[in-house]
Amino acid sequence: MAMALETLSSPIILFFALGLLAALARSEMTVPEAFAKGLAIYLMMAIGLKGGVEMAANPLTGEVIRAFGAGIVLSFALPLVAFAALRLTSGIDRVDAAASAAHYGSISIVTFVAATEVVQATGLMPGGHLVAVAAVMETPAIITALLLARQANAAGGPVAGSERGELLREVMLNASVVVLVGALIVGWIIGPEGFEPTKPFFVAPFQGVLCLFLLDMGLSAGRGLRQGWRQLDVGAITFGLYMPLISAAVAAALCWVLALAPGDSALLITLAASASYIAVPAAMRLALPKAKPAIYLTLSLGVTFPFNLTFGIPLYTAMGQWVGS
């Protein structure tokens, strides 16, 4: 409870709320796309570097490998649950359900970062390899979703003008994979000492940049909600709230079975519960162009992201403490 309250009054959440309210009140204010994209690249570089530097300092134990395995399994499996849930409880059609399911199997790096702060504030020290686990969880969900969608419409060859390998490139080499994994490897190579001179840029201002970025995310989420909620029935909106809980429960069980540490468990549960809103939407425009962005974006950015940021993270942290060994 105290943790929940503290989370809710952190500057990050407050700036997100500011953006959300401004958008709902129909303010015309925007953060220029080029600037926001620059900030996103900065954030991913910073996260990757820090994770890599930490990994360089710690040996690759069996627990680390189990965490990777858990992440991959979750990313492959959760879309199946999400797809079934959407089809059962909402009127969303098969293609839209498959596309949405991909988002929930994949992850949100901002949710991950916000959770890291909260987890560290409780005194737990999650391992740097969780950044790598996050990167690894981005993609598998997309594959599951494509298989689900293919079942849906047996017909339908490749889209006109498409090229062999373009989807693979988009999925494996999109900005967030390149920057996150790349910076992770750079961090691994340079280690704590090489990292030192870049810390005044990548560590000290990080929290502040996150505030600015979350203001923009609030604006996006609010506008998405205002435009998109009409496209969603009650079943779909409820899905955006209960699906992260299902994912968290599944992930928590897995963490318990695999005997992961409490801090690592908390972050893995958060990753499972979070939904993508940048990398997967782009991949879906290529892979399933007929799926409607208004549906999957409103769900992941408009409903699930705010839920996770405010109520989810304290809960997942508590769950991590509970199931972690």
Binding site: E163, G224, P289, L297
Partner: protein, 103 residues
Amino acid sequence: MKLYEKQRLEIILERMAAKRAGRILEAAGVSGYTVLPALAGFGGETKWQRDADISASRDMVVMVVIADAAEIDVALDQMQDLLADHIGVLNVSTVQVMRPDLF
């Protein structure tokens, strides 16, 4: 100034599909095309705005192609397929150019 007739094809298309449209145009033999960014738009029931959506998944672009009627005709066939899948509309008009051999 003596001018020559060509066709101008304008495709308003979701940004993620622009490379696919480009491949179709190249396969149809056009000599070139230019892609312009769009800022905002309205269609169906919904509006989009570039700076207001962090996912960028609804960004549109406008592709402009000057080419022979024959090449445009070849391209249109495949564009019809592309636009059956992807969000977008197109239009064709007749224009005059100075150096017809460029197109």
